[in-house]
Amino acid sequence: MRRRLQGRRVVICAGSGGVGKTTTSAALAMGLAAAGQRVAVVTIDPAKRLANSLGLAELDNEPRLVAPDRFAGHGIEMHGELWAMQLDAKQTFDELVAGLSPDDAARDDVLANRIYQQLSSAVAGSQEFTAVAKLYELDRSGRFDVLVLDTPPSRNALDFLDAPDRLTGFLEGRALKVFLAPTGLAAKVAAAGTSVVFGVLRRLTGVDLLNDLSVFFRSLSGLVDGFKERAEGVKALLGDPATTFLIVSSPEREAVEEAIFFHGKLAEHGMPFGGLVVNRVHALDGAAGEADAAALQAALGASLAGKVGRAYAEERALAERDAAAIERLRAETGDAAPVLVPQLAGDVHDIDGLVAIHAHLFGLARAVVVPAAAP
């Protein structure tokens, strides 16, 4: 992993929900920080216990330094700095608006608008956009050597890659402005079709919503150029050679399909693919060999040997399923040696858990052995 991340300034962990993205991001950031870099990990929805275990009562929208002594006694020598924050989409959006507004009145107009309030927190894509916008801001600040982003649990990988484009396209809303202001000059240029549309909409939705939208776009008009510029910057950052996307998956079918889909989208968008991390792999313990049924029965008695036999058969079946999934991921993404992290007994929300994951990510733990994939 260290080799893969050599010279990278921005590491984006993507993948479907429930595959351990947040933990992977945190363990990755911890490993890079331990090696001497100043690292900030931007998480979206961390477990409270993860924040607690890092000694941060609450994560908020500003990076907080994790006290280096947190790692003492856990086998980690912290040579750099680990910072952590939790993205607050609404606050980030508000700050962006404040930063881009020409004056306080313009800012207040936008912030007070009902449409804006819904848009900034609820609409699909706003979390994706604010995540990359925050990344861009942190990157520009020069405070960190490496940024690790734990992406929103978005179903559609496209949401993330297209967020800058879609949001600016939407905010520009030129066509909408024309059609929402059917008085004055706009009315004269508006086609007959447009006024039909407007009339129908007024019947369906009432005038309030249309007025709100109209006010929203008018008050935003002063900010649009700034937004566009920011979105351009964000897009450039996503495609920058110093940026890399890690795809995090589990061997579950849904996660695998999502990972393959996302890999295809990365290639389509010309975004740099840094490799695969497969979490929750059921491995076979390579250290101890097979024992036949007779030997087990002699050592444990028939009843217990039977239970052990069933547990082993199930573990083997899972390990074989996982091996097949990993093989498919290898073939489809072209990553010949994905980083494998074994299924751990409990959830990973404490420093020891992070250290264990980190050991697998950075090749410090015994390699995970999976059986040969079934033909």
């Binding site: 609820a122 179903r155 939407f170 369906l204 309030d208 589990s250």
Partner: protein, 314 residues
């Protein structure tokens, strides 16, 4: 107290669940929500209920499990239908139904201004999606010639967004004070916020994060939507085979892969039991467990144990 009462009330709640016209299945990503929705659908259909499972946001997970054709309202198993709701299509269907002529609907649908309006209006996609779910649950269907269903099972998006979908009609009705959509939003909201008409099944794995999220959902749902969780399904429960004496015997046994595998399975099963106990202690809704199903590809035979477990629970 809650623990001893849980089995009886779980049965009562689950039985009442299938009498509601709409059951929403929700949960964190990766917990097996679609599998549970499919299993619940099969259990209901076998009880003689004409059932449809509705998926949203272009997902076809249920259809993949049960081998559907992707055609709208196709029958996956006797009495069990499936639909994948696409907001764009739902919008078209809505406009065609609401406007006097098809031509007028086409003008709207091809208008750039309208597409901006649709994109700009917060919650419109969610409203259209949930509006279609509502339509499916009506005795008198808007879709010409469509037969009514006894039960609609909504395979909702992962929890956070699931709440957004359910609260969309209310959000929308509040934002547009007048107009036809606001009125319709209030009608839909009246159904979604009525515990007699809308049931909620929260699916969790017996693991820390899914349990946390389920508890958070249970706390948020009454205010956000007006209904509560009727049933929590703890999915993917591993067998807990080894007692303390077994573990001592295993520790004394010569190390081998099977013995190691037994320890690994034991540790995982214990961790699950601890989370399950926490879920049972903290959740107000009754909790039923479903066994872990190991299969590379989930299909109808593979989820049969889940269907039977749910049939027993209801």
């Amino acid at each position: 107290m809650a623990e001893t009462a849980a089995p009886a009330s779980a049965a009562a709640v689950a039985a009442g669940l299938l009498r509601k016209p709409l059951v929403v299945v929700t949960g964190k990503g990766g917990v097996g929500k679609s599998t549970v929705a499919a299993a619940l659908g099969l259990a209901a259909a076998r009880r003689g209920l004409r059932t449809i499972i509705a998926e949203v946001a272009r997902r076809d997970d249920v259809s993949r499990v049960l081998g559907g054709t992707g055609v709208h309202e196709d029958e996956l198993a006797p009495g069990l239908h499936h639909i994948s709701i696409d907001p764009e299509e739902a919008m078209e269907e809505y406009l065609v139904d609401q406007l006097p002529t098809r031509a007028l609907a086409d003008v709207l649908l091809s208008s750039r201004g309208f597409s901006y309006f649709a994109a700009a209006t917060p919650g419109l996609r969610e409203l259209l999606t949930v509006g279609k779910v509502w339509e499916l649950a009506q005795e008198d269907r808007r879709t010409p010639g469509a037969a009514p269903y006894d039960l609609v099972i909504l395979d909702a998006p992962a929890t956070g967004h699931g709440v957004a979908v359910l609260s969309a009609p209310r959000t929308f009705a509040d934002a547009t004070l007048m107009g036809r959509i606001a009125r319709q939003g209030r009608i839909i909201d009246a159904m979604l916020s009525d515990p007699a008409q809308t049931g909620v099944v929260a699916v969790a794995r017996p693991e820390e994060m899914p349990v946390n999220e389920t508890l958070a959902l249970e706390a948020a749902l009454p205010d956000a939507v007006g209904v509560k969780i009727d049933l929590v399904v703890a999915n993917g429960l591993l067998p807990d085979r080894f007692d303390a004496a077994d573990v001592r015997a295993l520790e004394a046994a010569p190390p081998s892969r099977p013995v190691r595998a037994a320890f690994v399975a034991h540790a995982r099963a214990r961790a699950q039991r601890a989370q399950l106990a926490r879920l049972r202690r903290r959740a107000e809704a009754p909790v039923v467990t479903l066994p872990f199903v190991s299969a590379g590809m989930l299909d109808a035979p593979a989820i049969e144990p889940l269907v039977r477990a749910l049939e027993r629970a209801v």
